[in-house]
Amino acid sequence: MIGSSTQSGWAMRVTGIGLLLLAWEMLGQSGVLGKLWPPLSVIVSYAMEPDSTSILLRALHFTAASAASGLLIGSATGVVLALLGLLWPPLGQGLGRFAATVNAVPLIALGPVLIVTAGREATPVLIASITVFFGVFVAASTGFASVRREQGDLLTVLGASRSHRLWFLQIPAALPMLVDGLKLSVTAAVVGAILGEWFGAPGGIGLVLVSAMQNYQIALLWSAALLGALLSLVAYGLLGVLQRWLESRFR
């Protein structure tokens, strides 16, 4: 029953995406949307040409590396700060406000500042880290707080030390929510990296987008945009698999 409903869910999804791509192709072929909206087949065959493939792959590699580093740095910072807040509650409240403030700063305003202060190379990673940080911090804090009262009581009566409580109860209890936060943050990491590249990084999908736009290379612009979307989707899908496994294991 469950198997068949998931299968039909997948069939629906594949059909939906297929229809969308087909509509795109037909609209592009008909030319009603003008030259700026080429058919999908034109974009794909352009991307398959050796020259453009090598440009796109280099950009993909750069952006994926920045997004991955950003995801790593941002989530590590988020988890460590959530842990500190857990171990020392007065600090936790202040950290919550700090995280909300960081999240309230528009990244578009931060970009140029970072280019000047941290440099062109580091900016994509930094922006990706900042976008990831808030989501992971909130997810980890909520996860630590999701420990049930009776579970905490039990460990108290069993005479658990602070570190045993953390290791046997709080960390495992927080894992599913933490990965949920990571899953939502990974797309933000890709967007953050591309945004950072936009401000003048030496490479990446963001740079290709800017240069293709300025040079009116419509097919390149579209392939770079699609590549960015694809990267996000794949990363999201991978973390989704991890999340489903953790859900079944830890809840």
């Binding site: 049930r148 009776e150 579970q151 009581d153 039990l154 460990l155 108290t156 009566v157 069993l158 005479g159 658990a160 030390s161 045993h164 046997f168 109860l169 495992p172 294991r249 830890f250 809840r251």
Partner: protein, 280 residues
Amino acid sequence: MASAYAGPIVDTFTMTPKSATTVAITEVSKTFTVDGRTVTALDRVSVGVHDSEFLAIIGPSGCGKSTLVRMVAGLEEPSSGKVSIAGSSPQVLAARHHIGFAMQEHALLPWLSVRSNVALPFRVAGRAVDWHAVDALIALVGLTEFGAARPRQLSGGMRQRTSIARALVLEPSLLLLDEPFGALDAVTRRHLNLELQNLWSAHRLTTLLVTHSVEEAVFLADRVLVLSSHPGQVKLLRDVPFGRPRGAQTRRLPEFRLLVDELTECLDAEADRVQDVIHP
């Protein structure tokens, strides 16, 4: 038949004897502040639990019986008065990993198997897991086939069995049971009463049980403490004269029924009095 309750207590002590564990609850009061008003949950309650004695606490809901056992567990502090276990504070006993604890919410960790849940107290105590002891207890509560199962795959009764095995695995010197069968259906509950009775008769550890079932209290305990409510005070302390081990036949004894009726009436009178206090 009569000797089943009046005969001498059968000594089947199998565990390593520990130093005597007595609980002294002395003049314990507990007050809460609700909307600026001070509510007295417990009022100068004094009771002692002897070494290797099973004491059951019953009382109308809201009489503070759970609060009392939570104070013995060191989870709450009395507003005045003192709880001491073998001469120390509850926290000292907890830090030595000497308390076994089971409550209405099983508090099993959902990411651990039944075996690992039962083994948790060893890990928390920083000791190597004695898997032999873990498996022996799991067998004792009839869950051998479910050792690898996770809590959500079990029925409510199986989860409570697991949590009782967990409470016993470190051979605690004090066992605290806060309505462990409160959420179970009547049949499962009687079944687990019988199992707990057998387990207890074999181990004889100092035990405090909070329950709202008079029959459960009489079946399991050596003495039953009845608390009144608003405020919670000691109303009656009654010896239970039946020998051990007790079985289904114990429940059928006329004396058993009489004692259950007596205590039930005591609770009913208490409930009526509370009605009058609240709606004079």
